[in-house]
Symmetry: C2
């Protein structure tokens, strides 16, 4: 999390936006090996000390940028049934998170963040999307598992394998996870 | 992973052992905030360039030390049934991995290791322990889930929550995970 509260539209928010954009652009252009705070500051039009003051160090800044990038920008699609909604969401989630960029962002979110706030935020984003899917299913009159069950048996295995054990990841595996999760209704 | 192969008993193995011990001692004494390569080198009786040559940087060294520390040093206990063996193992695994030291080691193993070899090794250690438990159960004539199912529905939720969502972690939750896993037999 940023070290300071940011007022929307204020100078703080503008600095944050331009620094985040600079990081994102430089990562896309040169990767993270050569990324430095002075380079980010130059691109964002701020001084390095502005960055150090607000974020502490490069790792913490990368962690904030990662969480921002991992924020879902749409509501999960409505396909008319819980099974379809969850399957489509899980396939999309796996696609995004297991891409080289997705993996790098998950690692960044974890690593620059010793107190766990940013990692918790990533998990909260997934939980919100699942909540949306489950609430919609309940309105349709479908039986649903609870959100924490979906986290344990669908989200957790996907993220665990992305980070620690990528070999088993494919669509068949994802569909099996959805089936197991739906057994808990 | 170490950048070089190490011959047991050779100079390489002795250097590795003394550097690992130095890291472990210095972490215990001062934590990781102040840890530096020259400090480790001094304690281990080697030159800093020996460390840079073999490990590349501090993060990669910490990652290697973490994997070494996460290696299980005993076979899982035999309690006479699959349910008891898996429950006891999972409780012990959660205890170790969710301790401040355990969490720090998991993060280190992930962090200094962009190609995923060390993270994969951590997962392989868990899989070996589970294999032992399942093989024993099969010999007793019990029905068992396969190792990857135990990874997905027991190991993954524990590690995911330790890293991203620690609130739900307790013995009741672990027991539920074991029950779900055993449904897959």
């Amino acid at each position: 999390m940023s070290r300071q509260m940011v007022r929307p539209g204020g100078r703080g928010a503008r600095v944050q936006a331009s620094v985040h954009t600079a990081v994102h652009e430089l990562l896309a252009e040169n990767g993270r090996e050569t990324l430095t705070v002075p380079q980010i500051a130059r691109r964002a039009g701020v001084t390095p000390s502005t960055i150090y003051r607000r974020w502490g160090d490069l790792q913490a800044l990368l962690s904030d940028v990662a969480v921002e990038r991992l924020r879902p920008d749409t509501t999960p699609d409505d396909h008319g049934s819980l099974a379809d909604d969850l399957t489509t969401w899980a396939e999309h989630f796996l696609d995004e998170m297991s891409s080289p960029t997705g993996r790098a962002y998950i690692r960044d979110a974890l690593l620059g963040d010793p107190d766990g706030g940013n990692a918790g935020q990533c998990s909260a984003y997934a939980a919100e999307q699942i909540d949306t899917i489950l609430t919609r299913a309940t309105r349709r009159g479908e039986k649903t598992p609870d959100t924490e069950t979906v986290i344990d048996h669908l989200v957790a295995p996907l993220i665990y394998r992305i980070l620690f054990r990528p070999d088993g990841l494919d669509t068949t595996h994802t569909h099996q996870l959805v089936a197991t999760t739906l057994d808990h209704t």
